[in-house]
Each structure stands twice: as C-alpha cells, then as structure tokens.
C-alpha cells in the first residue's frame, strides 16, 4: 500500500515555468522577434556575446537567439497536433476494439504489431523521405505511427474497466453500447489518456526535430530547432551557442513535458488505489 503524503506541488511549478515561456514564444514570436530570419551575410558567423547577438550568429548572419525563439512554434505545434490526433484515433478505435472485440480488434492489433515491428524513427525517416512531404505530411505520418500504441493503451484500459462490476451493472440496466462506452468507460480512461498524451508530445517533439536534423520535415529557411542543430555541426568551432541553445531548448522542453506526464500518471495511479 502506498502512503499518501501531503506533497507540495513541486513538479507543476518546476515544469510550468519553462513550459509557459515556450508557450509565449510559440504564440508571440512574430511580435517578439519579427526579424528572426533576416540574413546578414556581412556579419557571418559570430560567437556568443557579440554585440547585439547574445548567442552569436550563424553563417548567414542570422541571430541564433531570435531564430530559436521563432523556432519554438515549429518545434511544438506539430508534436501537439500529433499527440492529439493520435490520441483521438486511439480513443475512438481503442474504445470500440476494447469493448466490442471481434474483427475490428483483431485487425487493429495486427496493424499495431506490424508498425511496432520497426523502430518509429526508421519508418518515419523512410516514409517522409520517400514521399517528399513537408511539415504537415510529416505530422500526418507521425500520427499514423503513434496511433497504434495509443490504440493499445486505450484498448487495454477499456478492457480493464469492462470487467468491473459497475459496467456489468450498466449492462444489466439495459443501457446502450454507445452509452456504456462513452458515458461510463471513457471518463475513467481519460486521465490515463491525458498523461499518455503529454508523454507523446515530448516523444513527438524529439522525433520531429530528429527528422529535421536529418533534413526532412520543415522546409529550408524555416526556423526550427532540429534544423539549427543540424546547421550547428559546421559552426561548432566558431559558435558554440548555435549548438547549446537549441539543444538545451529541446532537452528542457522534452524533460519538462515528460516530468509533468509522469507526475500526472503517478498521481492518478495513487488516487485510484481503493481507500
């Protein structure tokens, strides 16, 4: 039995601050750094601390700091859409598969098996690379790649709920299947789904930036953390800021989201322990 102690909400505070700052970047970057992509070939590469460029500039003379602020939206928006989209698929298909079983369940589990037989990075690389898609095609591909795990997760929790007496009582009351699935089971699955979704945002962020690191996903010239890191490989000896800033931004954002997701999950597990 776990002890419930009155812990202070350290995690939401520690993770909330960086996440809030990133959120501001995403929403307001066009006003904060309207000239992020302005090139200045004359300046070229400068190291951190150069006047007016806290983190220096890249070989096109773009300011690393401004570029990173502008890059927040391509780093974060796609992953959020991916996590939401794949969880929507997960909830819809997972609930039906878990509650009704049958051929749908079989088909979905085979589909998941197939996709899980290969590393996500590899499939994402091959598919997005071969179809020449832009940012949103990559998002779509990742939704497809993320959905099997979400379907499995939802299906598992739905099955766990289905054998509970309160669901059996609902059946005995003669309630319709849809009502049982979406009014009775779903609200009890949502907390887990939500924390899984957060973890997926972090994972998608890493996957998307990895793809743009490999030169896929975002178009050329669009500010993006993964692209910045990829570029930084040629600047390492002249401007370490080009590496450290985007790298830290990705690591901190991913870690904060992961931490929050883990925390929510643990809290939920604790509260569902019977008194």
């Amino acid at each position: 039995m776990k002890l419930r102690t009155n812990r202070k909400p350290v995690v939401p505070i520690v993770t909330g601050i960086p996440l809030a700052i990133i959120a501001i970047f995403v929403i307001a970057s066009r006003w904060i750094v309207p000239n992020a992509t302005r090139q200045d070939i004359m300046t070229g590469v400068t190291s951190p601390g150069t006047a007016g460029h806290l983190f220096g500039t890249d070989q096109l003379g773009r300011d690393i700091g401004q570029l990173a602020i502008a890059g927040a939206s391509s780093a974060v928006v796609g992953p959020i859409v991916i996590a939401l989209g794949s969880m929507m698929i997960g909830i819809l298909l997972g609930t039906f598969a878990g509650y009704m079983g049958g051929w749908l369940d079989l088909l979905l589990s085979k589909y998941a098996d197939l996709l899980l037989a290969l590393p996500t990075t590899l499939v994402a690389l091959v598919v997005t690379g071969l179809v020449d898609g832009g940012y949103w095609v990559t998002v779509l591909v990742l939704i497809m790649l993320f959905s099997p795990t979400d379907i499995r997760m939802v299906r598992g929790s739905v099955i766990a709920q289905t054998s509970r007496p309160y669901i059996e009582s609902a059946k005995v009351l003669g309630l319709g299947r849809l009502r049982i699935m979406f009014r009775h089971i779903l609200p009890n699955v949502l907390p887990v789904a939500f924390s899984t979704m957060l973890l997926n945002v972090a994972f998608a962020l890493v996957s998307m930036s990895a793809l743009s690191f490999l030169g896929l996903g975002v178009g050329p010239g669009v500010p993006d953390w993964g692209r910045q890191l990829s570029d930084s490989r040629n600047l390492l000896d002249r401007n370490w800021g080009s590496l450290v800033l985007p790298a830290m931004l990705i690591i901190i954002t991913a870690a904060a989201i992961n931490l929050l997701g883990d925390w929510l999950q643990e809290r939920y597990e604790e509260s569902s322990v019977p008194r």
């Binding site: 039995m1 102690t5 009582s169 609902a170 009351l173 003669g174 569902s272 019977p274």
Partner: protein, 565 residues
Amino acid sequence: MNRGLSLNNLVVTGPAGLIVTRMDLHVEPGQTVALVGESGSGKSMTAKAMTGLLPRGVTATGSLQLDDITVDLALGPQALAGLRGQYISLLLQNPFTSLSPVHRCGEQITAALPPDLRRSKEEIRRRLDEVDLPERVARQYPFELSGGMRQRVALAASLASNPQILIGDEPTTALDVTTQREMLDLLERIQRERDMALLLITHDLGVARERADKILVMYAGRLVESGEGADVFAHAQHPYTAGLRDSDPPLEHRLVELPAIAGSVPRPWEVAVGCVFAPRCDRADDRCRNEAPELVGTTSQVACWKPIALTDASHPIQIATDVQAQNTDNDLVVIRGLSKRFSSSAPLALDNVDISIHSGEAVGIVGESGSGKTTLARCLIGLESFDSGDISWSINTPMAQRAQIVFQDPTSALNPAMTIGATLAEALRAGQRSKAEVVALLQLVGLPSEYINRRPNGLSGGEQQRVAIARAIAPRPKLLICDEPVSSLDVSVQAQILNLMNSLLKDLGIALLFITHDLAVVRQVVSRVYVMSNGRVVESGNMENVLQSPQHEYTRQLFSSVAGK
C-alpha cells in the same frame, strides 16, 4: 527458560497519526491468543510492529520481551531482525501472494534452515509431512497447488526455524470454509506438538471463540476488552464487544432484526478525545465524550466508563420463525437443465441445474467458491451465455425490470466518475421511472439526500453497497440478485445491510436470490435454499429443514465446518 512473549505499551504511528495506541499483550507457550476486531482496527499493524515489518513511514515505540531478551521497538526494524524466524514468525493471509511464484516449494520451505540442511531430502520430507503434504510438493511451484495446499506450504516455511511464537494474520480468511477448518485443526495440532505460542489475528468471532484461550478485542487502534476464551463474548462488558457479538448472525435461528451497530468504524487517528466508541455507543454520556477510559481489570480487562455488568439484562433477542416456502403456483422464473462449460478442458461450471424462484420469495444459494453460484447468477441475468437448458420468465417486461444484481465488491460497484445522483437517475430512467425518485431511493436505503452530489470515492464500503442496492431496485425489478453482497463488509456493517435487505423485501414485495458461502448469513434472509457443489445442485428445500437435517454429504460437511469453527 521459555516464558512466552510480552508486548508492552506498543504505539504505532503513521503519516496521518496514531494507528495503534498503548497496546499490551502476553502469550504463553502452548497458548492461543486471538486478536479480533473489524478491518482497519490495527490488528495487522500490531503484527507487523512485532516482527519489524512496518511499512515505510510508519513507526513504533514500546518493547517486546521474549525469554530474557527485551527489544526496544523504537530502535527500528533492525532491532527485531535477529528474532525473526527463530523466536517469532508471521503467517500471512493470502497464500497466493506470500510465496515467490518462480521458486519451488521445497526451496522456499527450507530457505530459513542452516545451509547444510537446505538440500536434505529427509528434512524437506519431514517438514512437508508435518503439514500433511506429500513429498512431491517440494518440486512443485506454488501456482500448481490449491489455496489450502499453498497455505500449508507457507505454514511449513514459517515454522522452518522452529519459532517459539507464531503470529497468524488472518491465516484462514482467504480459504474456503471446509479448508479453513482443516487449516485451523492443523495449526492447533502443530501448536500442541511444538508447545508453541500462537497469536491468531482474525475478524471472525466464531474462529476466536472456538480456538482461543484468551481473546483481545481491538477497536480503532485501541484494545477495548480482553479476557478468557469464549467468556469475552458471553459476558461482554464493553458495549462494542457486545455489539459485535450480537451483530454476528447466528446459525441456530433467524432473528427478526439483527442488532447492528450504527455508523462505521472510524480511522484510529480521527478520534481526538474521549472514548473511541462514543459516537456509536448508546450508553455514551458526557464523560465518555471527553475522557478516554483506561483498560482496567485483572483476569478480564475492559476500557469503558460504564461497562455492562454481568447482572445487566442483555437485549431480549427476538427470534423469528423461518418463513415457510410458498406454494409453487406463481413461479417468477424457472431454470431447467442449465449447463455451461467455459472451455473444453475445464470441468462443467454448471451441470444440469434446476432452480425456480416464486414471486416475492427469498431464495438462497450456498456453496464454496468455484461451485458455480456466480455463473448461475450471471446466466440468469444475461451477463453470461449457457450451453444448454432454458430460463423461462413468467413476466414479459424488459430485462431491466425483470432482474437486477448487486455484486460483492462495493468499491468497484459504482462508476467512480459519476455522482451518486447521476448513477441513480440513470438507473431510474432505465426502468422508465421518474428522476425525481432519487431522493426517495436514497432514503429507502438509509442514506441522507446530500449524497446526491457525492462521488463513490468519499463513501465507506457499507455506504457504497447501499447505493449499489438502491441502483438495483431503482427500475423496480421483480427479482433482486445479490452475489455475496456482505462478504467484504465488516460484521457490524454486514448486519445493517442484511436488515436493509429484509426491510426492502417486505416493503417492495420483490423476490430475492441471495448467493453466499456463509450459512449463518443466508439463514437470516431466505426461506428456501439450494446447496451447490461442483456446478451441481446437491440439495434444496426449506432453510430450516436443510439446516436441521441435511441430506447430502456435502451439506453436512459444509454445516459442520461452520458449526465447529
């Protein structure tokens, strides 16, 4: 010299506050001391404190005395490490989890022996023999054995280092009634042979009464009464002990109403001042509410300002005559030749079962776990399909208004995401009744109307079960099926629920199918009973007749194992 074990002034503190308050106990070699009380009263915590196995965040003070050794419990669990096994050993409730699933039984039994004896075939055989197990068990894994056999393996393991005192924390609770009796007999025999002290922790008053030399009664972390054997109950001085005794349903007769204790057991740390039992005690006065009584007395001790004197007339107990079975004209539902097999390799779960239930009649089904009771109920209500046979109803209403069901576990009976009001409103709608009846429904099951907006998580087990019953009667079904509805409740709460059921039956005129493993419980509710064993109905008839002259061998066995506890 072996003078047994004494526990002095034990105090256990958890993160929320006191769990056990100033507890003393003494066990002599060869003696059985029973520690009884409802769940959460601190029995297990006492056992864990005595063995240094308290969970993280829980600490103990006090001392433990064994022979010439005195251990200060405040020194932490390590202080007791040297005593475990050779002096004191603990047998746990659940034989399914107390053994490692991936180690063979023989290995687990001998693990505590000196290394040179661990592999000795002779030694293992001797150990298995002591607990009446065949030699082959040594090579088997726990999952290959039945619950009773596993608990024997666990017993052999806990005896490996020949402890002077064995603590059994509900060692038979997870077992079937008949197996329970065998296990208790075995414990008694071994205890006698080894002249070992036994501290038997149980919530089952019958077990304590039959097996213990001395009984201690705990309530909300306090010792409230102790005394010699069965006397503690027969001449209960503490109102709680008396209440507990009275609310335990008797097998011998049916009571008009079980004397229940109102309310539910408080958490030990929620009691600030005064007597712990005051909120539920009908003798309580101002002193009781402000000043905590000390445990006083010599041979028998009691912590109460106004103990019940021997001369006090106890409540006159009203005995009801068992309701006679009604004539068979008005069958509500008739089950004929019902059979069901879950998989081709499994034995029949239901084997040609015939059962009928008349309108407005209370019928019981008794049998051990695995005898097919629940499967029968689930087939009847449509949650399970069956292979052959038929179920014919004499009414033509939608299923929801024919039968409803209440399950055993109240904690998962209600949707945690819905308020009580929403749950009941939905059930009313399912029976085409008005949502406005929710309040009346709550009143009917004895809950205040404020509960409409509460969620199941904030309710006690008994309250949750009341809501589950309310939901089941909401569509006004003609038959209410209850599958072990009181088995996970404390005795005092169990009595409340049984009384509620009886009054509902009378008021609503509905039929009841009551499923249980407990003969005494079913006696209080039904007029006719079916006894099931291995998927078959082996005996049926009037409750009274079946109890007085059981015809079938299995019924006799069931009966004697209850009576002889």
